[in-house]
Symmetry: C2
Subunit: 317 residues, 2 copies
């Protein structure tokens, strides 16, 4: 008889993408000072991989227009990876211009999505990555890649695994071996994460995988659990769970960094992140953007807080 | 090498506890008519197990004071189990008085919790269940049992597995074989659910288990995934995710029925529940209580909705 068997890693790596994927959907455009304050707190929390912004066209995403200034003015702490999203060579040059040494390229794995938005197939779009990779090599910039719509697409629904494999192979041919499987539409479910995820991990053992989840439909925390079983150990998160669609009040965005860290710690897995500090970042982010986001731990508190509160209460009785 | 292996049941049973555990924490006390409207919609959604209220002291929980009237006036649909929570013989007699045939007894597994609140140990409290079981047998009432604080307690933190086993054995000695492991404080984590859950399921194969989860700290959906791996196939949920603490604005309560049903369906598992109807119940519940609760699917929509919306949009282009 087939029996379930769950296993847990000793260690998980958390990447903070709030400054990019969290803030890019906010109506309010933050000042550079506000971004730097958030960035400092993220670093203090012990997170070692931080996506600080993107070099897309400022008219398309005005929230990210000041990424160069953020990069110029930020403290650079040794051992912390400051990453930016770049769509093309132009963006990569801007990243290099401010001395950044890690970038992320991105392509939607969905044919319809790519053709509809850019009039190109994913593989055609990726031809534009060749000069990026060459430029990056010349300037010692590390390049990672994202597969967006990897778990589902509004145009196509589920994406065939062969299509995912095709894009992964194309990235590998470019020499890019750190790949993020992104679920910006929140369509991934835990069974799919486990089944497709284990398949991808086994098929491409040379890849360092990142799982990028959104909680749009409430499945992100279940996906983390299934992702751990598939073998993922690196997860993106955004402080406070920012990144929801500004046109759907209350809609969830990125999985909240502090919710992930809390759950992972509760399971006895090490992250190296100071949870209280991560919660402080999230509270600060909510204050700066001017509204609550979908963090659950920020409202309900840690398990530990509940026990402590009761202990305090008993003592006073 | 140990490898993870996830397996999935073909079928999951959903119990709706919103009318009891959802509403008992609301400031607003609903009218009997409002409760009956909600109850009708729950039945229409295809849910077959419904906790309609409790027979506790009306001064302690005024929100449940009208449970007798609800029971008297509700339509009784064949094949639907209408359950009430009863704390003692008095409650059971009231349930019998209105012709109910299914009750749930409950005890906290935490020694400190019991002693602090009732000045009795859990086993001492359970002595009070003996006349209940005898009365129920005489009147053909089915009795189930709940183990509250099963996954953690504000006084004690984690509960030793031996303590859980002791309470399960006491229930079994009373002839009660349907048992709910309740996490009203939202302290359970997925690893614990899997490890303790599989142990309990293997140790007591005669028990029909129910998993009752709250999303207070964001772990409930991950706990469902781990619960399925442990072998649980029956889960409580509350429409809209009601049941948060009224004193913590925005704090999550019970896991939202519609979030669970949506995720379970996305994983290709059958529930027999009409998701759109369950979402209708949840929207109605939010309207009646007068505030949004923590349902995620209600805000973000189903996966299917996203794909349909895009298809419509493409057609109009």
């Amino acid at each position: 008889m087939t029996r379930a068997n769950m296993i847990w890693p000793n260690k998980v790596k958390i990447c903070e993408v709030g400054l990019r994927d969290g803030l890019q959907n906010e109506k309010k455009i933050l000042t550079v000072e506000e971004k730097l304050t958030l960035l400092d707190t993220v670093v203090e929390s012990g997170i070692k991989v931080i996506e600080i912004g993107s070099f897309v066209h400022p008219k398309a995403v005005p929230q990210m227009a000041d990424t160069e200034e953020v990069a110029r003015r930020m403290k650079r702490v040794a051992g912390v990876e400051y990453r930016v999203l770049v769509p093309n060579l132009k963006g990569l040059e801007r990243a290099h211009g401010v001395g950044l040494t890690k970038v992320k390229l991105t392509v939607s794995v969905s044919e319809s999505h790519c053709i509809n938005n850019f009039n190109q197939t994913p593989l055609e779009m990726m031809k534009g990555f060749i000069p990026c990779v060459e430029y990056a090599a010349r300037h010692s910039i590390e390049v990672s890649g994202a597969l967006s719509s990897a778990w589902g697409c509004a145009f196509e629904g589920k994406i065939p695994t062969q299509q995912l494999e095709k894009i992964v192979k194309a990235y590998l041919e470019l020499g890019i071996t750190e790949l993020s499987l992104s679920d910006a539409t929140g369509m991934a479910n835990p069974r799919q994460i486990y089944e497709v995820g284990s398949h991808m991990i086994q098929t491409f053992p040379q890849v360092r995988w990142v799982l990028h989840l959104h909680n749009t439909r409430g499945m992100a925390m279940g996906n983390i659990v299934a992702g751990l079983q598939a073998g993922f150990t690196t997860f993106d998160g955004a402080f406070a769970g920012l990144g929801g669609c500004p046109y759907i009040p209350g809609a969830s965005g990125n999985i909240a960094t502090e919710d992930v860290v809390h759950m992972i710690h509760e399971m006895g897995i090490y992250t190296g992140v100071d949870l209280l500090k991560a919660m402080e970042t999230a509270r600060m982010a909510e204050k700066i953007v001017g509204h609550q986001a979908q963090s659950v731990v920020l409202r309900g508190g840690r398990c530990e807080d509940l026990t402590k509160e009761k202990a305090r209460y008993q003592k006073n009785e």
